[in-house]
Symmetry: D3
Subunit: 321 residues, 6 copies
């Protein structure tokens, strides 16, 4: 048990603000865990603790019976400890740890804010929705937004706490919608209502594919079906429930189904309408540019990034200024 007394004198800083000799109490995510043995053979834990501001290496030297359960990767733990310096880096010496019940979880502490405030993104998302005049598109869209809110506005764009911020799904969707408007204006013969509805729906299946309040993991449906199939089914079901008889639901299902562009990337059919083709190209473009930008954050001019897994493991060069 963490004593009430100690709670009064300790600090509750974010990891990025830690300084040597700080006495800290707070909720932290177990990002990584390995076990070691000290010179006398007693076991200890090397733990990576994380919050939205960063991560720190920590040691739990004295292992208690329940610690194995508490220190599970992905768990949030209430930790008390001291910040020390080791080999020029800060490290935390954990003095006590206890589980955090779901209802006491301080979710906001673990989710990085998106580059644009969530409220602003929601406003832009809604403006795109409002711009759609095709009635069948609007009915399906309104129904599914209602069904999948508020997850739709909170979820990250991918399953990974690393580099990912909250509302990443929303951010990606709004960017793609902006690009859709740009290209529909630029090229002739694009049906913007269909394209925009497809864009707004295309990744919504991730609200069912992922689960978890802090560390997102694939749900069973996510693993066995995938967000593409889940969302395609949802549109079909919505259209039948809304008694829509036009071609619109098939076009929307097709856009969602084909948006990864190729079978080897998880789309069982290739894009076969101009709108589906454009959607998959915009998705590819926005995803890759965002990945590249993240990978180049913090890289010095004149140097290369780390290997970037989703970009075929290539390294990117940041030119000299």
């Amino acid at each position: 048990m963490i004593s009430l007394e100690s709670m009064r004198t300790v600090m509750t800083k974010m990891i990025s603000e830690f300084e040597e000799l700080d006495h800290i109490v707070g909720q932290f995510l177990v990002g990584n865990l390995s076990k070691g043995a000290n010179a006398s053979g007693s076991p200890y834990f090397n733990v990576e603790l994380r919050d939205a501001s960063g991560s720190i290496s920590a040691k739990k030297w004295d292992i208690r019976p329940n610690d194995e359960n508490i220190f599970t990767i992905g768990n949030v733990v209430l930790i008390e400890g001291e910040v020390i310096k080791y080999k020029d880096s800060l490290q935390m010496k954990i003095t006590s740890a206890e589980p955090v019940p779901l209802e006491e979880l301080d979710v906001a502490k673990f989710i990085k804010a998106p580059p644009i405030p969530k409220e602003e993104l929601i406003k832009r998302f809604n403006a795109h929705v409002e711009s759609i005049k095709n009635e069948d598109c609007r009915k399906i869209l309104d129904y599914l937004i209602k069904r999948l809110s508020p997850r739709l506005f909170d979820y990250p764009a991918a399953v990974s706490v690393h580099h990912e911020y909250g509302s990443g799904l929303l951010m990606h969707t709004v960017s793609m919608a902006d690009h859709a408007v740009y290209f529909a204006n630029y090229y002739k013969d694009i049906d913007l209502d269909i394209l925009l509805t497809g864009v707004l729906l295309h990744d919504m299946g991730k609200c069912i594919e992922f689960e978890g309040p802090v560390v997102y993991k694939y749900s069973l449906e996510g693993k066995l079906l995938g967000h593409i199939t889940i969302m395609t089914s949802e549109i079909r079901r919505a259209a039948e429930g809304l008694k829509i008889t036009s071609e619109v639901p098939i076009l929307l299902e097709h856009m969602v189904l084909a948006h990864h562009g190729y079978q080897e990337f998880g789309s069982p059919v290739l894009p076969q309408t101009k709108e589906a083709l454009l959607l998959s190209l915009i998705d590819n473009l926005d995803s890759k540019i965002v990945i590249a930008s993240k990978a180049l954050e913090g890289v010095n001019p004149g140097e290369f990034s780390q290997k970037i897994f989703p970009l075929d493991n290539r390294m990117l060069y940041k030119p000299k200024e």
Copy 2:
């Protein structure tokens, strides 16, 4: 117009029974069409006529204004003509031709009977359905069988009039169900109810993927979505309508989604349960053996078949007896 008088004296044989000098009137399918010009430059049609018994080469020498519409590949045409011999083969000289309205179409004349009578297949299909004890499986299955009957019992297994017989889908499904029972008895730890339901459902989406009374073609949904996605969506919708909350619908959707085994064959996810894996293996086995058997029909012992497209274009050898 074909005169009533001539109708009285002509024959209505199947193509395989034609003899030289027969005078024929009957419905025939336009299997292929090319245009030629005779020595004086006048155009004529080379037509391949088909019924379930075979095909014959025919000529329409005198082209009338509407003939271009009547002789469309895939159309069924009411034809009057004479059987002649040309270079040792029978050929038909078409004297008149007129379109057949859909309601007068003699479908039975164009569909080869399956090797096992349709009624017998339906009986075996139903026996498999009856054997399933899992209530969620039965509810979904009963609902979807009702929804997709009677197409389910009539459709061929693939879009092609060549080599395909009616009820081919049913024949393939019943064979796979028999194999499912065999393997579930052989190996331990197979959930036969789940496997069998998956088998009975797995190709039902073809009832929506294909369309047409005689020559089956891909429907718009078939092209833009494919039978795998269509059926996965149908199960999801059925399960929600039937208020099923167990894991069963996800397992069934997964089996249908994964049954082609690999992404490059159209399944966006790989089989991830033992039942899904076994289903895809049985499907692969039955399909390939049936294709091989068809390809070897009529090949002489000691000779090779034609190249078989769905078997990587290989030729199969029929051993000497």
Copy 3:
């Protein structure tokens, strides 16, 4: 020889304006050629004649000794003939034909005008050039534009008279430059000067890769080196001649070298800067959308296009209105 007399009474229409019984004299491109033999065994030519407005099937019944040389695919021929109707289509009966010397070639008759007038495109191209402030970029760009004008403004985007219009290269380059400006404004940390210079240069090597006044063919350099390598070398040479010592030429060479995105598409290196990555994505997007638009021209709503070779042979669907 085509008699002067006949010249006075004949018409010089574009193919799309031909009507039955027209008597035509004019330059036409031999798009395709096959040989036949008439009933008496005498040879004749089936010729496809083309101009920028379309194509027509033609017959040359009476073959003269030199006709084999005159009717070579890709040649422009001065033809006199009559327009007749055959099987509901117009056809031309060629009465005489003679070669067209290069200096009398009416190039404008064979090159479709781009959707936007060439002068307008040049103006927009130049405006993009003017917007670049980086001096090294400007020096290299100015040098190479001068070196490759005016081909740069006239060439089609690809080697094919079919569907291709004049200034296609310019049209594609200006569209990509517009997109570059849009995306550089949208995303942070893009060096627009570098990106824009790369876009303006990326396909200029086609001015050396292709050759020919009407029907563009690959030059020897085009076949043995390809436009990507040609242009990369040109930038290197320019930079050395201009005594530029900054990193800029390497970044530009890299963008050109990597713009096909993958080795199997002809880029020996993958894009390794954000600007190179974005350039390859914009190129891919613009190319595919333009191909899709062309393929859907003339397709009826509710129907599919022909198979589109550069889009993996898929057919595109034009939705109902």
Copy 4:
């Protein structure tokens, strides 16, 4: 030397029966080995000891000059030691170790029994052999069974002590033979004698491809030729020796050669007879189902297995009950 005295008081349990404080003497297989250094810099061995019942982590703290040779991965070692508890797991502290001469090796201790007793499997194997009426098949089969017994009945199905049991090759062969009988009855026009002979022979080359009494390794022939080529050659040689002039040996060689189905899986030719095709499909089916069953052993309902290498690294889900 392990003292005789200590031998009297110690136990010779299987690893799965070990309890804390047991004093053990017995033969164990060195499954894995790594070297460490204690706090004072002295080296020690971390050893994984195995028998057919399982494995245990062990330490050899005091390294003797010959220990490096004795503790070689794959060796069987006579070990004396004590079972202690460390971090909630049992561990063995090795007090002495000496090599086991080949002739004293207690093979039975290291080979897991197959799910069906070996004698029963041999009986079923022989029944399949007896069922074959084709004389050429029988002659070749009898000759090769005699040549490769008794390895044929003892060998595992794959080179790996992990998860593999003795007679695995026999078990797999008998299962496939059972399936061959089932399918030959189900489909028409299968030559069961040819198919069954192919099945019984198809993997016999593994008796030459692998070697070793406990831990099977690839022999030189196994590495340079592979079991498919080895067995194909053996059939050819047998047929020549037995003066068989029918087509039968070629059909059998072909079935063995083609049984992996594709070139990338090691078959230089594709199956080109119906029997060869069916054999490869049955082999694929039985192998994958057995692998899946092993991977799901011990997985809790509602959870996923580890990644399964021979199933494309996928994880399998065990449904809730």
Copy 5:
């Protein structure tokens, strides 16, 4: 029947020597065949006739009952006819044709001579054999040369009458043996005896893979097993018959088995000895250079060859002189 009288006055020239108005009688190979119908609807044959000197287009206007059997592709036919000129090319008008019994076949007329006389090649082949000192190599080699002579010295290098000459297999083998000697002298640590024996044996299986006196076709063994597997088996059988117990036969079998270099080219194992690696590299080099030389025969300087199928369909450029 061809009249004796006409035989006296006709010529028996090779095709390359034909002149207009020649009256020819002689054996010719039917290289290609298509059927046409003349203006009055009567059928006729377009035949390509070949001998070792070239090919000529021919017509058989008047079809007799047995002509269909006589004019089979690959047959050699005794033909009488007249050489006429049609569209600037020579053509033969066939007046009579009859089958040639196997024993009267003038094989030498259809097989192009190799660039180096066969006797010279045999001498060089034997010199390479004589140079081998390793006794096991010599025993196996002598045995197999005896078994496969004289086919070994007559066969072409590939199944195709086009571009292929007699003794092509021998020519390719001798070239590779020369290269083997060169490289074994150049690099250290090559076992020339092993390498040379492997080279001399590597393609001998083609003597069993192909069959036919003039037009070589794949035999049943060729199709179901392939020359690589056939020869590997032959070495194994030879070694056992010769009671060789050294490693030599395994090394030789391995070299033959691996000589196509990769699984997708038909070698089930990769080269795993230096000699096997070098053999596969020499084979690849000699094959490609010979194919390139043939493809460039007759191409004018400054022009490209036809597409070359075995070189990935590329065209080769012949530089200007």
Copy 6:
């Protein structure tokens, strides 16, 4: 600081000559580095030290503030230490270390001598140059040799200190030139001047692709452009500067561009002249044989090498003697 006194008594041996208890001072390359912590938690370095004669494991127990910078992989460090024995191996205990300024670097100590002396290789290289009679070839070659000397004669063949010796690029080039002469003599119709010039130029771009006096690394140009593109550009530039107007520069550029043979190996075009094809085949052959020879160095007869990465990770077998 290393004391002058200690310098007097210590030895400056190469690593392969180290003996127990030697006291060493000398320059060593940091080949590898990992950090550990001793029993009391203090950090230490595990360093792999290398020179041209071999490598040794070393410990730096007492870490000074600047040691992290000094012990960077790829750095050459002036080290003082003692050779001790640990677990039967020699190990160095580092007592002091300091950086080596570039101008004091003893390059010769780190570069293995090539198997043939550099002077001898240069002589043979020059003889090949002298043999070329084509003036355009000579002009380009002379210009580029001058431009890239002396790196051309010093550089290794690949970026890796492991197994690589100095002048490796030269050694590989001379071997290929020898092979070029051999094959041009053997086959007809090879233009030896063109082939030889291509061989001598083909890898010269590595002089710009790599950089560094001891450990070669990819330069920025190496990474963004690659040696193939760099050299192709250099030839183009040279030809323009030398005012060469023949086809020769295009043929040379093509040979360099195509020498990796396939797009997936970095050549954007396939070899399209016989000389380019032969060059790529010789390059492939020499590279693979040299890699195989290195991999088999030190392997005992009857055993396999390690996995060889550039040979598809296969292991090679060294036959028994």
